[in-house]
Symmetry: C2
DNA sequence: CACCGATCTGAACGGCGTCAAGATGATCTT
DNA sequence: AAGATCATCTTGACGCCGTTCAGATCGGTG
């Protein structure tokens, strides 16, 4: 698994073959099959590590947030920045999810998962009169928006706008600012 | 290319090999190389057709919209529904974009592209005092949100919520309703 | 007719995921 | 200490993949 992460960081997702992992680890191509059922299971394990890392990133952002209003923005920024710092890992994480048509099992119940953290934040910001379904919808909306931005923020088309706004992070905050839920008071 | 689209629809993206396309078309594995430089170029061509189809879908939604306030919602719904009706094609479209780190060339200038359509709609809704950069940011935000939702709307985790809300489309409208820009007056 | 360009074929190369059969070596049992 | 057990690894093979290249086919042009 260390070998897999090394290849992912150095050569990107397209170079991540089971045989390459075995080479990097210094074993024969068949060796991994004694630890994982198939390639997908190895990728699942790598992705799991990624989700943990993302959770820590977001927890850190929550701790850094100045006030309740800025909380969601900070979490969103840290989410996208994680995807920019580990683009290959982020892709593996979502490829695995898409293959199984679901986010990692238990992510919606595990108290300190990234997903629950966002939902709890909404719960806290919204107040008790808001229905649970609405909290869930807001969480999903925020997650989708952050994921979309994570996948597209590296597109070259946005480079002019990025420099016009003064850098990558300003761009991120600008986009998130247009997504209702990421700001207590959003610009008209 | 017809063969490629056929395979995509019937067997999914993972079955879309150059050799399979050649088999489906009834030619030798090397034949496609006289029409496309490599596999990527064939996929680009297929993706291009996909973007055209998506553009038509969204144009149709714009025509159907009852009023200006509902315009963005209708466009967003039709975007996600397109991805649900052609999941394999949608994946190819974005895989190609990601490989080149950009949306299809000219999409930002071509007057009747999907992207320009969204931007022009924002331009119309916003009024002339809003800065161009803000229009661009709103367009990107909407696009990212729609793309994220398109990729995640099929996740099994959301099934309970979907039926609680009364179906797929109600779910989509619910999520989009939480994303500021998709409604003139969004719920508190 | 001879020529040419477009189109296709057949065979080959290396890389891939996967599997079955067997080797090696540590640990546990008696 | 001797033998059994188990996890781990290797070797070698299979079929599929993307790609290349040397040649076959064939319709149209001079």
């Amino acid at each position: 698994m260390d070998a897999a992460r090394r290849i992912l960081e150095n050569e990107g997702p397209s170079a991540l073959s089971l045989r390459a992992v075995a080479r990097e680890a210094g074993v024969s191509p068949a060796a991994p099959y004694h630890h994982f059922k198939d390639k997908g299971e190895l990728l699942d394990a790598v992705a799991h590590v990624g989700w943990d890392m993302l959770g820590e990133s977001m927890t850190g952002a929550r701790a850094r947030a100045a006030n309740l209003g800025a909380l969601m923005t900070e979490i969103g920024v840290s989410y996208v920045q994680f995807s920019q710092q580990h683009p290959a890992l982020y892709r593996v994480m979502y490829d695995c999810s898409r293959d199984k048509d679901m986010l990692p099992e238990g992510m919606q119940d595990n108290e300190d998962s990234a997903y629950c953290m966002v939902r709890d934040t909404f719960r806290k910001v919204a107040g008790p009169e808001v229905k649970d379904d609405d909290i869930e919808l807001a969480t999903i909306a925020a997650w989708c928006a952050a994921h979309g931005l994570a996948e597209m923020s590296s597109f070259k088309q946005f480079d002019p706008l990025k420099s016009a706004l003064g850098g990558e992070e300003a761009f991120l905050r600008g986009v998130l600012g247009h997504l209702g839920m990421f700001q207590a008071s959003r610009p008209a």
